[in-house]
């Protein structure tokens, strides 16, 4: 799938949750949203894209979540 588009979508999701002053809640919201609404292949490709050096322009919440909550975001094998 188009990784740039996935990155844009992730960024927009994060922009919503980023408004929460509680940072843990913001990250929970972002990660939970991906898990609840994104097909596994979309999550895998987003993570792979960022792992491969993509998404440097994404807001911190996206990058932090991929770094800190990778196991939660990726589907069980």
């Amino acid at each position: 799938m188009n990784a740039v588009k996935l990155g844009k979508m992730a960024n927009e999701i994060a922009a919503f949750f980023d408004a929460d002053p509680d940072r843990t809640a913001a990250m929970d919201g972002f990660v939970g949203h991906l898990k609840r609404f994104w097909d596994p292949r979309m999550r895998r490709e987003l993570v792979a894209w960022i792992d491969g050096g993509g998404g440097t322009e994404l807001i911190a919440l996206v990058r932090d979540a991929i770094a800190q909550r990778r196991e939660q975001i990726l589907p069980a094998q």
């Binding site: 799938m1 188009n2 927009e12 408004a19 609840r36 609404f37 097909d39 292949r41 979309m42």
Partner: protein, 947 residues
């Protein structure tokens, strides 16, 4: 005339806790205070003759036929305008009354053509019936005097005629237009003998008339008469069913002659419409028998091959083999399905079951993805249920209504009439819309505040309104304390009270003066009952879900949820948007909005179906397109939806469809998506099948088969056959059994059955042990989620920006006479009113570009270009243009982009940066469209290429 055989008590029902007992012709009768003597008589089994009275409009007292005698009173009062009083003794039949009534009838008939035997109303004419009832035997005045018998018939309207020679000037049509429809198109011109009914000073078609047909229904003679009755005669039987157009979900009586529809009459017993209708529901059903219907299954290997008509067995076998082969080659998740809001609950339930139990994945989505998916997300998050909170009748108790991003007079006309009635009674109105919609100002209706915001700034406006509520002390603190999550509330309150959300700070963003926002907030915040109604102008934005939550925040903050007259009310676009969502059409939810990650729910369905349900969400429609282009999604079953026309960025959609190996389309016509299909299953219209639709107020209505399916199978049977062919039998003999399964597996539907629907007429879910007859108003004691949740709704501007190349904003919508992609209404005489999609633009923008009305104009965005005719109107604000998407050749979605709502991927149809310029030819895409159309038609059986 209303439907044959239905009693008409003459005046509207009255609701009162006080009762009145009186005697009518020696019979004691007890009725609510305020009831007319005529209606009380009807209850006592006494039919008083009448002509100017009917139960859908207020009494008028002009025909003088319903005279009665009342003990202790002088004269002969009209029973329609005389209200009951305790102890009243009424006589409806006497020698003197008979004499008076005959005299009145004699005068009417002296100026009425005596052509009863050839009159289309013969057999269903109140004038004829009353003449018989009063015993008219002669007309002493003769017919030679001055009369109206030569008055010219107006046949301009495509659906009904107006024959003034048969008019008795009872004014029922004028009053129906005013009271029922609220358009005020008709009037009585002249006085005395010269009185005549007129649609202004013009014919019906050129007038303000919106062809709702309320006047035709109210007419007691054949003065206003359906052309279908003129052509086919009176019906021989009637079947109650539900309209297949918008989300109002009007109940209808299909009047039949054998298997042919003669007339559709809105059912007075209909809970949503109470006997009213619009031009689509009442008249635009001719598509069902249109010559374009495809009635035989067809298959082909490649989309460039000619279609081959085959048997159902071969077509279903071909489809099943293809789908299984794709899964074998590309994996189980490489196929999926799309359900439609135009299909029944039962059909939709079966398609998602097919995906989950037969395909073995969760790749099912529905067209609500592109309309109200943010409603599902936003209301579930804040209130706990993905549905509107009220019934339509609730508006009668509303003191202030906010209408946001909705144009109900065009898109939900029957409910708009109810709104207008309440507004005429004095309710306040705030309209939030970039355009000056009809509700902003029309006869006897005007918005106190029109917040004419810039497209894409909804969230900024709703936050500003909430800011005023919070900072000016209009919060309902006790309500919030009792019913809401206070931790989340405090976070929201601090956010919304910050200066960044003030009307003054947001004015530069929204374009709405701060004083206007403050005034509107005060009007809503101080209302006893404030209700919010919204449409796709809320959801189809990059912040669609945020806006829905902002609306819920505002309603909770002002205590406006949980009783009649208030609430958050999404006006659903299509007939079964609510139902399609309820039935588990989304890739993350099983029926009843239960997430696939919930093991208990998966076990429930898995055990019932004998399969394992996957715990991970599947692909949404736009994700399906992207996955198709990356090669991981290859097969699609589309039931009743035209994604190639209705979804955004047409180039992208067509490329995705072209890359698939098996596209199965189940539809009535060769729709745009069918041009990219390998299998065509001919579908059935709503007239050809049994089932249920669920409207915008959660009302489950029965759809009843009035004629056999022309293609041999109802849609649900096709899905069952496909499942069986793929190796998973589904055992149903009738859609009622599918509903039984839905009820068994879905808590909000536990109490629903066809037997109960037949008994009650309709049911608003939740319907279960706690609410065995349904739930008109939700969240009465507490929110479904427990505590209502306030959500921080920060305004984030869309990434779709104007610049020097694309300086204007295009926003899209719909109009009264056409429906969605137009596949149905374009095949009716509704094209009389709207034969093509137009581009509306403000006079300043037109002048700047040298454009005059009717010019061809090119509309160019970052996604593509199309050409439309210009319509210059001050409804638009400068810098904003508007079009509809009812005609595929218009290419509205060639221009719209892939931008979408952050939470749901609902497309941002309402904001596309464009340039508009005058041109003299169609766009390159439109020439390609023509060529493709020609080619695909030639590939149909009987087409050039097929021969």
């Amino acid at each position: 005339m209303y439907s044959i055989g239905h009693p008409d008590p003459g005046t509207p029902i009255r609701i009162s806790t006080e009762r009145v007992t009186l005697m009518i012709d020696g019979v004691s009768v007890n009725v609510p205070k305020g009831t007319s003597v005529m209606r009380a008589a009807a209850k006592a089994g006494v039919n008083v003759p009448k002509l100017c009275a009917t139960d859908s409009i207020e009494a008028f007292g002009s025909c003088r036929l319903c005279l009665v005698q009342i003990e202790g009173r002088r004269g002969y009062p009209a029973s329609c305008t005389t209200l009951v009083e305790p102890g009243m003794k009424v006589t409806t039949q006497s020698g003197k009354l008979a004499q008076l009534r005959r005299g009145v009838m004699e005068l009417y008939i002296s100026d009425h053509p005596l052509d009863c035997l050839t009159c289309p109303a013969n057999g269903n004419c109140e004038l004829q019936e009353m003449a018989g009832q009063v015993g008219l035997r002669e007309v002493r005045y003769g017919y030679a005097g001055e009369n109206h018998l030569e008055a010219k018939k107006d046949e301009s309207n495509p659906y009904f005629t107006f024959d003034p020679s048969k008019c008795i000037v009872c004014s029922r049509c004028v009053r129906a237009c005013e009271e029922t429809q609220g358009t005020f198109a008709l009037t009585v011109l002249g006085r005395g003998f010269d009185s005549k009914i007129a649609a202004g000073n013009t014919d019906f078609l050129s007038s303000e008339c919106v062809s709702c047909g309320a006047c035709v229904q109210a007419c007691p003679t054949s003065t206003l008469m359906e052309k279908s009755i003129e052509e086919r005669g009176q019906p021989d039987h009637v079947v109650a069913t539900t309209c297949a157009y918008c989300g109002v979900g009007c109940s209808f009586l299909a009047e039949m002659k054998g298997n042919e529809v003669v007339r559709m009459v809105p059912d007075k017993a209909g809970g949503a419409n109470h006997g009213h209708s619009c031009v689509k529901g009442r008249f635009a059903w001719g598509y069902a028998t249109h010559k374009d219907r495809i009635t035989k299954p067809m298959i082909r290997e490649k989309i460039s091959d000619p279609w081959r008509e085959v048997s159902w067995d071969e077509a279903i076998g071909f489809a099943a083999t293809k789908l299984r082969a794709i899964q074998a080659k590309y994996g189980p998740a490489s196929i999926g399905a799309i359900t439609s809001s135009r299909c029944t609950n039962e059909e939709t339930f079966l398609v998602q079951k097919l995906v989950r139990a037969v395909f073995g994945n969760n790749n099912v989505d529905t067209c609500a993805r592109v309309c109200h998916s943010p409603t599902g997300y936003g209301l579930k998050t804040t209130l706990g249920e993905s549905a509107g909170t009220q019934n339509f009748d609730s508006v009668d108790q509303t003191d202030v209504m906010i209408v946001i991003g909705a144009n109900p007079t065009d898109a939900h006309p029957v409910f708009a009439s109810r709104m207008k009635k309440r507004l005429r009674e004095g309710a306040g109105l705030i309209v939030i819309d970039p355009r000056k919609t009809d509700l902003v100002r029309q006869p006897h209706v005007a918005a106190q505040y029109h917040l004419q915001l810039r497209p894409g700034t909804n969230v900024a406006v709703i936050n500003s309104l909430a800011h005023v509520i919070v900072t000016e002390g209009m919060l309902r603190e006790q309500y919030i304390a009792d019913r809401c999550d206070l931790v989340e509330y405090e976070k929201w309150k601090a956010f919304i009270a910050s200066a960044e959300n003030s009307p003054e700070a947001m004015e530069a963003v929204t374009g709405v003066p701060a004083a206007t926002i403050r005034g509107a907030a005060r009007l809503y915040g101080q209302a006893r009952n404030g209700a919010i109604y919204y449409g796709l102008g809320v959801t189809e934005h990059s912040q669609g879900s945020t806006m829905v939550m902002g609306i819920a925040n505002l309603a909770m903050a002002t205590g406006n949820i949980g009783r009649e007259g208030v609430g958050v009310n999404p006006l659903r676009g299509q007939n079964n948007v609510q139902g399609a969502c309820d039935m588990g059409s989304f890739p993350h939810e099983l029926p009843g909005y239960r997430h696939v990650s919930d093991p208990a729910v998966r076990t429930l369905f898995g055990d019932a179906w004998g399969v394992t349900i996957l715990a991970e969400p599947g692909l949404r429609i736009p994700n399906m397109f992207d996955a198709a282009l990356d090669g991981s999604f290859k097969g699609l079953y589309v039931q009743g939806e035209d994604i190639a026309q209705s979804d955004p960025d047409t180039h992208h959609v067509l490329k995705a469809l072209s890359s698939m190996e098996c596209v199965i389309v189940q539809d009535l016509f060769l729709i745009e998506t069918a041009k990219y299909a390998h299998v065509f299953f001919p579908g059935a219209t709503f007239l050809e099948k049994d089932g249920t639709f669920t409207n915008a107020e959660r009302r489950i209505n029965r759809v009843r088969k009035v004629m056999p399916p022309v293609c041999g199978l109802a849609d649900w049977e096709i899905t069952v056959r496909l499942a069986e062919e793929m190796g998973v039998p589904m055992q149903y003999d009738h859609p009622s059994q599918i509903m039984d399964e839905i009820a068994k597996l879905t808590p909000t539907f536990h109490g629903v059955s066809y037997e109960k629907l037949d008994r009650l007429g309709s049911i608003q879910w939740p319907c279960n042990d706690a609410a065995p007859e349904g739930t008109p108003t939700m969240h009465e004691q507490q929110f479904v989620r427990g505590k209502g949740r306030f959500v921080i709704t920060r305004y984030v501007a869309t990434t779709e920006r104007t610049n020097r190349d694309y300086p204007m904003i295009l926003t899209t919508g719909r109009i009264l006479s056409q429906y969605n992609v137009g596949a149905q209404t374009r095949r009716t005489k509704n094209t009389t009113w709207h034969a093509e999609d137009l581009l509306e633009l403000h006079p300043h923008d037109a002048e700047f570009r040298g454009i005059v009305d009717g010019d061809l104009v090119a509309v160019t965005s970052r996604a593509g270009e199309t050409v439309l005719r210009a319509k210059i109107t001050e409804r638009m604000q400068p810098g904003v243009v508007y079009t509809t998407f009812h005609y595929p050749e218009s290419g509205a979605n060639v221009v719209t982009t892939e931008n979408s709502d952050w939470a749901t991927n609902c497309p941002e149809y309402k904001v596309t940066a464009v340039q508009v310029r005058k041109t003299n030819q169609r766009s390159a895409w439109q020439y390609e469209f023509d060529e493709n159309l020609q080619e695909q038609v030639s590939l149909l059986p009987g087409g050039d290429a097929a021969e």
